[in-house]
Each structure stands twice: as structure tokens, then as C-alpha cells.
């Protein structure tokens, strides 16, 4: 469970995020929708503690991230925009490195790795070095290492960005499966369809601030539109930066 209260962040004169508040429940997919540059990634980065908020607080499983960043980080799995894997390490070695940094013991780690290799259908590349992997294969390695410690909260920054149709479908199925396992999932997207198809709760962000939030039904009711895409455009006021 993730709770965000009045987070703000400026870079110089640019106010990237202003008073953003929302909560994301376990067993739900919460989507941050907004055009490119709206402040979605900055919000996410503050939650996974690599950016310090200028003001406001965030809690991960009721842990204050500003006071206990290390503890908070061990309860989240993050698939960020940067998904670089180590080319000279094998799939297993890549995942094992992150598992060890999460403080897992050897036996748990090996068991969990086998589980993930099967779950993500990557047994065939388990002991190959990552150099020469396809985009899809790299993504799988990045996902596996992000959730190797079986975190309760999962943050995904534009998870289907740059993926082909098949990989996008696989990714969406995987996100739903995590939700069904009771995880708290927060993802960002600038793709209206994706958010409409996946999310149980939608936070619409525009110019660094929350423009609207609620379940898909609530958003439809509020705007009196009969489809989500029209509702999004109505709320944001423009189609620019969306897809």
C-alpha cells in the first residue's frame, strides 16, 4: 500500500510536481496518466526515494520514506525508465546480484529465481550472457531482478513503452497476475488505452498537479462522457502528449 500526501518537487524554477496526493491499495492497479512531462516519473522517483521531495510525505506500507528510505526501498520493486542489464553477466547472475543486494539468503534466492525464470518463460536464456539479448528478453531480466525479493509494492514507469504488440500483451498479463496476487501496483503511462484497459484506479496528472482521480466509472460520471478517452481529454484540456 502506497500513500502520497502533498508531494512537491521543483527543478530550479520549474515546478515539476505540485501537491500531489493519492493512495494506491493492495490488490489494485493504480495508473498515473498524463502527457509527457506532466510529472509522472518525478512523482514515481520520489516514491522510490531517488529524488527527495521539497515538501510532502509518502508512505510505503505505512513507512515514511523520508525517514526510513532503506526500509522503504526493500518493500518496493521498481521497473524504471532505465532498464539497463549487465551484458557480461548471465540472466541468473543479473538477477542474483539484485537478490543479494536485497539481502536474500542463498536458498530463498535460488528458489525464487527458478520461480521467476518459469513465470517469465526465460529458462532458455537463464545461463546465457545478456549481450545480444532482444529488447523483450532484456525487459524480462529487468522485471525479474526488480521483483526478485517478492515486494508487496511494484512501481512501473511506462512499462510498455517501446514494446511490440506481443510483448505489450505479455506485460499486461503479467501486471494483472501481480495484481491478482494481492500486490499494490502503481504504473505511469501516457497511453489512454493502456490505462483504461488495466487500471482499477486512475490518477490524471497535468502540469505537475492531480487533475482528477477515481475509478474509471467515477471519472466517466464526473465528466458525463461515455468513453474514457473523451473523459481524459476533457479533464486535461488537450490531447497533446497523449497517445
Amino acid at each position: 500500500m502506497i500513500k502520497v500526501e502533498q508531494l512537491s518537487k521543483s527543478f530550479g524554477k520549474i515546478r515539476a510536481v505540485q501537491d500531489v496526493s493519492f493512495s494506491a491499495l493492495d490488490g489494485q492497479i493504480t495508473g498515473l496518466l498524463g502527457p509527457n512531462g506532466a510529472g509522472k516519473s518525478t512523482t514515481l522517483r520520489m516514491i522510490y526515494t531517488l529524488l527527495k521531495p521539497d515538501s510532502g510525505v509518502a508512505y510505503i506500507d505505512e513507512i515514511d520514506i523520508s525517514q526510513f528510505p532503506i526500509e522503504a526501498r526493500s518493500r518496493i520493486g521498481v521497473l524504471s525508465d532505465a532498464q539497463g542489464v549487465y551484458d557480461r553477466l548471465t540472466t541468473r547472475e543479473n538477477i542474483r546480484y539484485f537478490g543479494q543486494l536485497q539481502g536474500m539468503n542463498d536458498q530463498d534466492l535460488e528458489n525464487r529465481m527458478d520461480e521467476l525464470l518459469i513465470m517469465l518463460d526465460m529458462m532458455s536464456i537463464a545461463d546465457r550472457r545478456a549481450k545480444g539479448f532482444s529488447t523483450g528478453e532484456r525487459l524480462k531480466v529487468a522485471i525479474a531482478r526488480a521483483i526478485v525479493h517478492n515486494p508487496n509494492n511494484i512501481l512501473l514507469d511506462e512499462p510498455t513503452n517501446g514494446l511490440d504488440v506481443k510483448s505489450t500483451r505479455t506485460m499486461r498479463e503479467f501486471i494483472r497476475k501481480l495484481r491478482d496476487d494481492g500486490k499494490c501496483i502503481v504504473l505511469t503511462s501516457h497511453i489512454m488505452q493502456e490505462v483504461a484497459a488495466l487500471c482499477d484506479k486512475i490518477i490524471i496528472i497535468s502540469n505537475g498537479a492531480v487533475a482528477a482521480q477515481g475509478t474509471p466509472d467515477e471519472i466517466l460520471n464526473k465528466t458525463r462522457k461515455d468513453n474514457l478517452e473523451d473523459a481524459f481529454i476533457e479533464i486535461i484540456g488537450s490531447e497533446e502528449g497523449l497517445a
Partner: protein, 390 residues
């Protein structure tokens, strides 16, 4: 502690698999010793030839001065006829020098005037300097010998024309002469400590950023300073391997190449001295890795890092270059300058001079202190959020 080990192990494995990087590092570690070895052998053999081979002297008009020719022959000079166009031959370097005895020599000589001979030489040709010098010495010897004979004939002591008698007492032992060349050695040793670490440092800092794996890595629940320490330590084995390889190469060159025969000297670079130098340089491994880590962490790409780091490797080696040209005496203040203190001490170790334990302690502590400061600065850098987003 466990995390430092996890990071160290991963980075070391990753770097070992990057064969091309560490091979380049090791090659550059051998480059210095091999070059110095070749230089010593070439220099040694040319000096050797000039000093010990019998001198061959082309002479034009030898028939005009039979006495001089006889004197030269008695001094082991082989007299050969000069080539027809001797000036061109000297210009082209076919012969080093030609002695020309003009026709009037005999007449001038008999009438007690200064009889003129000409030496045709090319002073811009460095390689002929020794030959020319030997001939000049011989001719002056003959001239002074005849002059003294003439004074004695007239009942005058030859000492009246020697207002000052110069005796040369050369304090340079053969070993210390060769040391002038070999004082380049500390420079190479410090340099390879830096270059041995730099490809690894570039890969684990700028490389990590360039591959877009830095952000996922830093999201792990590990304090960022642990990453700095683990990564820093992983450069040590490579830097140490370069250092060891250089020392072994120098050791082999000074023990296998017959410098005794070439230069008439024997360098003492035995196993114990090599081990002492290795241990003395370990704090420099720390320093070289730390300062390069700090600078490489500022850079955005490996290419950018690759342009900065070689300059860092040069800075600490500059005092070593001074050593090659000036005679610098060790003192306690100089020991406070990291890398320079070590270079002075390495020099002393090679000369088998007694070394003050205090000097060693001071230089080791000073180096570790400076390296710790650089590490601390790198940690501060990694704890700032713009390590990722800039």
C-alpha cells in the same frame, strides 16, 4: 559489510569478463619496462662500441706527416686513406671524421711554427661526438708532446706552460651514471598504477550510467556509500596486477639483459627490493582508484571519462619526471606529497640506500589520508540525487 563483498564480487567478475579492457591495461604496464630496456641496451651498446673498438681514421695527405701518423698508429688508431670526395662523405655520414694534413705541414713543422691540420666533421651528428673527441684528444696529446720536447731541447721546464694542471676525479660510479637513466623508473611505476585502474573505474562509474543500469542499482535497499566503497575496491586487483606486472618486467630486464656488459654496471633490483616497492605502492593503488572514481563519476559517458582520466594519471607522475633531471634529496616534507614521496623512496630502494622508517610511515599515512578524502567526496557525490538525473 556483506553488501560491499556482493558489489565487489559482481564488479570484479564483470570486469574480468571485459577481456579487452584489462588486456589493454596490462599491455601498457609492460610497455614502460620494455621501452626502458631497449633504450638501455641501445645506449649501452653504442657507448661500448665507441670506447673500446680500435679507432679508424681516414687521413688525407698522410705522407706529409710521418711522425704524427706513427704516433697515432702507436695509439691503436688504424689509418686509412680518405675517400676522394671526403667532405661529401662526412656530410652523408659515410665516415665520422677525416683528418687532412696539408702539404705545408712538413715545412711549418720543421721551422717550429704551428703546423696546421684540419679535422673535417659534422658537429650536428650526435653519434660522432665520441669519435671526434678521441681524435681531438690524441692530436692535442701529440701537439703537447712535441711542444714539451722543444722546450726541453731549449733548456726550459715544460711546467712553465702549464699554469694549471687539471686532474679529473669523477665521483660518479658506473652505477650512479646508469641511475640517471633509471630514475625514470619510479615515473613508470606510479603511472601504471593509475592506468591499470582506469578502464575498470570508467566501466563501473560512467559505464554504469551509460548502460542505464545505475538507477535500478541505486534503488536497491543499500546505502549509496556502500556502492562507492564496493566499486572502489573492485578496481584494486586490476591496479595491483598492473603494478606487479610492471615490477616483474623491470626486474626481469635488469636481471636478464646483461647491463654489466653493456654499461659496466649492475642494477640491484632483486626480489626483495621489488616486494618492498610493491608494498610501498599499495596506498597509491587506493589513491589512484579514489581520485579516478571521483572524476569519472562526474562524467556522463565512458568516452568523456576516457578523455579525463589519462590527465589525472599524468599529474602525479610529473614530480617523478623532475627526479629524472634534478637531483632531489629526500626530506620529511616531500614525504607528505602523495606519489612523490613514494617515487623518492623507490629511487632510494633501487640505490640500496638506507631508508628511514619514519619517511615510509609518513608517506603511507599522507597518501591514505588524501585517498580517504577523495573517497569521501565520491560518497557525497553519490548521495546527491543528481548523480542520476543530469
Amino acid at each position: 559489510m556483506k553488501n560491499i563483498w556482493v558489489i565487489f564480487r559482481k564488479e570484479t567478475l564483470d570486469s574480468i569478463r571485459d577481456t579487452r579492457s584489462w588486456m589493454t591495461g596490462l599491455f601498457s604496464a609492460m610497455f614502460g619496462p620494455i621501452m626502458l630496456g631497449i633504450l638501455l641496451v641501445l645506449l649501452g651498446s653504442s657507448t661500448q662500441d665507441d670506447l673500446n673498438n680500435p679507432l679508424t681514421l681516414p687521413v688525407q695527405g698522410s705522407e706529409h706527416a710521418p711522425g704524427l701518423i706513427q704516433f697515432l698508429t702507436s695509439q691503436d688508431v688504424i689509418i686509412v686513406p680518405a675517400p676522394a670526395d671526403f667532405e661529401t662523405a662526412v656530410k652523408l655520414g659515410d665516415v665520422d671524421v677525416v683528418l687532412v694534413i696539408p702539404e705545408e705541414f712538413g715545412g711549418e713543422f720543421s721551422s717550429n711554427k704551428s703546423a696546421t691540420v684540419q679535422l673535417v666533421l659534422d658537429s650536428s651528428r650526435q653519434s660522432t661526438v665520441i669519435v671526434v673527441l678521441r681524435i681531438q684528444t690524441l692530436l692535442e696529446g701529440y701537439s703537447s708532446y712535441i711542444g714539451k720536447l722543444r722546450l726541453i731541447v731549449r733548456g726550459v721546464s715544460p711546467e712553465v706552460i702549464e699554469a694549471i694542471a687539471i686532474e679529473e676525479i669523477d665521483t660518479a660510479t658506473p652505477q650512479s651514471q646508469a641511475m640517471l637513466l633509471i630514475s625514470m623508473l619510479p615515473y613508470f611505476i606510479i603511472f601504471v598504477i593509475f592506468t591499470g585502474a582506469s578502464p575498470i573505474i570508467i566501466d563501473i562509474t560512467a559505464g554504469e550510467r551509460e548502460r542505464k543500469s545505475l538507477e535500478p542499482l541505486l534503488i536497491n535497499p543499500v546505502p549509496h556509500k556502500i556502492f562507492v566503497v564496493g566499486k572502489l575496491l573492485s578496481a584494486f586487483p586490476f591496479s595491483m596486477a598492473s603494478l606487479a606486472l610492471t615490477l616483474i618486467s623491470f626486474g626481469m630486464i635488469f636481471n636478464i639483459v646483461p647491463l654489466e656488459k653493456f654499461l659496466g654496471i649492475q642494477i640491484s633490483l632483486n626480489v626483495i627490493t621489488l616486494i618492498e616497492i610493491f608494498l610501498l605502492c599499495l596506498p597509491v593503488v587506493f589513491l589512484a582508484s579514489a581520485i579516478q572514481m571521483l572524476v569519472a563519476s562526474f562524467t556522463r559517458t565512458t568516452k568523456e571519462a576516457g578523455t579525463y582520466l589519462p590527465f589525472i594519471a599524468l599529474i602525479p607522475s610529473l614530480p617523478g619526471l623532475l627526479l629524472a633531471f634534478f637531483s632531489v634529496k629526500s626530506n620529511l616534507w616531500l614525504m607528505l606529497i602523495p606519489t612523490f614521496g613514494q617515487q623518492l623512496l623507490i629511487n632510494q630502494m633501487m640505490r640500496q640506500e638506507p631508508i628511514s622508517i619514519l619517511y615510509i610511515v609518513v608517506t603511507v599515512l599522507a597518501t591514505i589520508l588524501v585517498a580517504t578524502i577523495f573517497t569521501w567526496l565520491a560518497i557525497l557525490l553519490y548521495e546527491r540525487e543528481n548523480i542520476l538525473f543530469r
